[in-house]
């Protein structure tokens, strides 16, 4: 079956990318950097701590031995201890990653539901008012640095109009996290709280049934999510507009019309479906962009997610966090590409054949 083969090939490619990132990061720290031990230990480490770190990470062994340990540690969840938080990095990632994923998904959904209809409409009337307006907007939005978008929203909507809160993922008074999701461990016969969904502030509040926390989390997410949505706003619109125009010029649209189908059936069933194909690929690119844009946006809004955590690790030279975070974000990006690829091949039967 074509689809299974395609998925297999894409998964292999994804694993290759993750492995590549591990190699790159390893060489960066343990080979290219002048003093790996002090990098791992953090800038304020004492000589004793550096001693311990050197032993812990096998920094006196030849590089290939170090690499084996490094890969083994990574896959066993042993990602080092953050000198900044004095906490195992994996725990920090578990706490912060879901927050950003939630934010990025919200902004992606916002983008898609606003931009695709706009793109379809401008595609139906190329060079009309809407089309030209979007074109001008996109020229600007793709040139605005993400921190400027966030800054503008912060100044106007938070400080000036007081419409939305300026910082934090949820009102600190309401920040109660009750575990909701549990995973059954058949070996121990115990239930464990599942961090992934529990650490998403909006989803968790909703599932726990705490509606004041839910409202607060939603309120706090609006500005950061909007920043990510506005950043590069118009890209999807331009793409879906172009592919709509292209689709409408295809012969199969003429066939559909010649058949006597109503115009809206022609557009929805025949043109739209085909014109959305490239948007799937772009969505994964945009999702990856949002996760990285979160570095800046979350810093400005003090929104405690992966972006904020990574930004802090950059500024405070918390290298173990930075490295693990880089690899984790790579994994997220690779998975989103994978999902897009698979989705594309489900919608477009031609792709399955070309593998």
């Amino acid at each position: 079956m074509g689809l299974a083969k395609l998925i297999g090939k894409r998964v292999a490619g994804a694993l290759l990318v993750i492995f590549g990132e591990l190699v790159l990061v390893f060489f960066l720290v343990n080979v290219a950097a002048p003093n790996p031990a002090s990098i791992w230990a953090g800038p304020e480490a004492s000589p004793e701590q550096i001693q311990i770190i050197t032993q812990l990470y096998h920094l006196n062994s030849p590089w290939y031995i170090q690499f084996l340990y490094y890969v083994k540690n990574f896959f066993t969840g042993n990602w080092g201890i953050s000198p900044l938080y004095q906490t195992p990095v994996i725990q920090l990632v578990e706490e912060y990653l879901p927050v950003t994923l939630e934010l990025a998904v919200i902004s992606l959904i916002l983008k898609l539901i606003i931009e695709i209809p706009l793109g379809v409409l401008s595609g139906l009337k190329p060079n009309g008012f809407l089309d030209n307006a979007i074109r001008i907007i996109y020229t600007v939005t793709r040139s605005v640095p993400p921190f400027f978008v966030a800054l503008g929203l912060l100044l106007v909507l938070a400080y000036d109009v007081h419409a939305f809160p300026a910082s934090y993922p949820v009102d600190p008074i309401l920040a109660l996290k009750e575990p909701k999701f549990e995973i059954y461990d058949p070996f121990n016969g115990k239930y464990y709280p599942f961090w992934f969904f529990d650490n998403m502030p909006i989803l968790n509040a909703l599932l726990v049934g705490d509606f004041s926390a839910f409202a607060s989390a939603l309120d706090h997410a609006i500005l950061p999510a909007l920043s990510l949505t506005l950043f590069g706003f118009g890209g999807i619109t331009r793409l879906s507009r172009n592919s709509m125009i292209e689709a409408l010029n295809m012969d199969y649209i003429k066939t559909a019309r010649a058949k006597g189908l109503r115009e809206r059936v022609v557009i929805y069933r025949h043109a739209l479906r085909n014109s959305l194909l490239p948007t799937i690929t772009l969505s994964s690119v945009i999702f990856a962009g949002s996760i990285q844009g979160a570095l800046v946006v979350e810093t400005i809004f003090n929104y405690y997610g992966m972006g904020y955590y990574l930004a802090q690790s950059l500024l405070d030279l918390d290298t173990p966090s930075l490295l693990a975070g880089t690899v984790v974000v790579t994994i997220v990006v690779v998975i989103s590409n994978l999902v897009a690829d698979i989705l594309y091949s489900v919608v477009d039967p031609r792709v399955r054949e070309t593998v």
Binding site: K254, T255, R257, K259, Y268, R269, P349, R350, E353
Partner: protein
């Protein structure tokens, strides 16, 4: 052929179609009169750029965005369909007028199974054209037998396998057969075939031509067959219209046109046929190429390429003359 308009499937009167090109209006179809009787096959022959395809698109109401019918009437079963509003034109397509396109590789939706695309045709025929049909996909109807039957009629082996496939999994010939199967399901009164075999190899071409003849006999429909190939048109058409630079230069019964062409352009077309109809003459081609519709020559559009051109041909566009059941637009007659 004198018939009243009620008996005609299609009657085109004084049709002018223009494109908006480089900031001005250019005419791709000029002053066309055309009658297609019930069950009749009319061939339209001309080089690329002669306006034959534009004529076809005007009749079915699928002109591109930058073009319009600037003058004339298109009477379908006595009713002027140029007066029908754009959003109601779909009612005249499918079950009334259907069209098969040149490139079978792109004329079927690549993301829909053959079965669904044929089901749509059944839906249209049974009056289900709107939302009720479902937004993304047509519902799996109980018309499977009918779909299988239509596929068998166009000579597709293993129809139950083929109908579950996507267009890219089929050959060009198979796809054009699917288009003909679609015509069987729609049962239109008029079929427009726009160069339906041009993209196919010789053997497939012959098969598709045979299927089109069978279709016409089985359904008793009228056909407007458009091609650049005089031989192909001669095989199927009752009458032939020869178009040049948007005008009909000659019209008559198929055998008369082929046996004794009158217009120098038609003669050129017949002489350029490599083998068969006119053995005694050498193979000739018409010198030059058809004019750009933005820069039409004065007088008769064919004059720069015509060996018999006279002074009058440059100064005056010839009127169409009726000579014993034939029409010709040339100063020689």
């Amino acid at each position: 052929m004198e018939t009243t308009s009620e008996e005609l499937t299609l009657k085109v009167e004084d049709l002018w179609v223009s494109y908006y090109l480089e900031g001005r209006e250019a005419f791709a179809v000029r002053d066309i009169y055309l009658d297609v009787g019930k069950g009749e096959v009319v061939g339209v022959v001309g080089e690329s750029g002669s306006g034959k395809s534009t004529l076809a698109h005007a009749i079915i109401g699928l002109l591109p965005r930058n073009s319009r019918i600037s003058k004339g009437r298109i009477l379908f079963k006595g009713r002027d369909i140029t007066k029908v509003k754009t959003d109601q034109r779909y009612l005249y397509r499918g079950t009334n007028i259907f069209m098969i396109f040149q490139d079978p590789m792109s004329s079927l939706n690549p993301t829909m199974k053959i079965r669904d695309q044929l089901q749509e045709a059944i839906d249209v025929r049974s009056g289900r054209r709107g939302w009720s049909v479902g937004m993304w996909k047509p519902p799996k109807g109980d018309n499977e037998e009918e779909i299988v039957d239509s596929l068998e009629r166009v000579g597709i082996k293993r129809p139950r396998v083929i109908m579950e496939k996507y267009p890219h999994q089929l050959s060009g010939g198979e796809r054009q057969r699917i288009m003909i199967a679609m015509a069987y399901l729609l049962k239109p009164s008029l079929l427009i075939a726009d160069e339906p075999t041009t993209a196919l190899d010789m053997i497939t071409q012959a098969q598709v031509m045979r299927l089109l003849s069978e279709l016409r006999e089985n359904l008793g429909l009228s056909v407007l067959f458009i091609s650049h190939d005089m031989v192909l048109v001669g095989q199927i058409a009752d009458r032939i219209v020869v178009m040049y630079a948007g005008k009909a230069v000659e019209e008559g019964k198929a055998e008369e046109i082929i046996e004794s062409p009158m217009h120098p352009y038609t003669k050129g077309l017949i002489n350029s046929i490599p083998d068969g109809y006119k053995n005694e003459k050498r193979i000739e081609s018409i010198p030059g190429s058809p004019p750009n519709i933005l820069k039409l020559p004065s007088g008769c559009s064919f004059n720069p390429r015509c060996k018999l051109a006279m002074e009058k041909c440059i100064s005056e566009d010839p009127e169409t003359r009726v000579l014993g059941g034939r029409k010709v637009a040339c100063h020689l007659y």
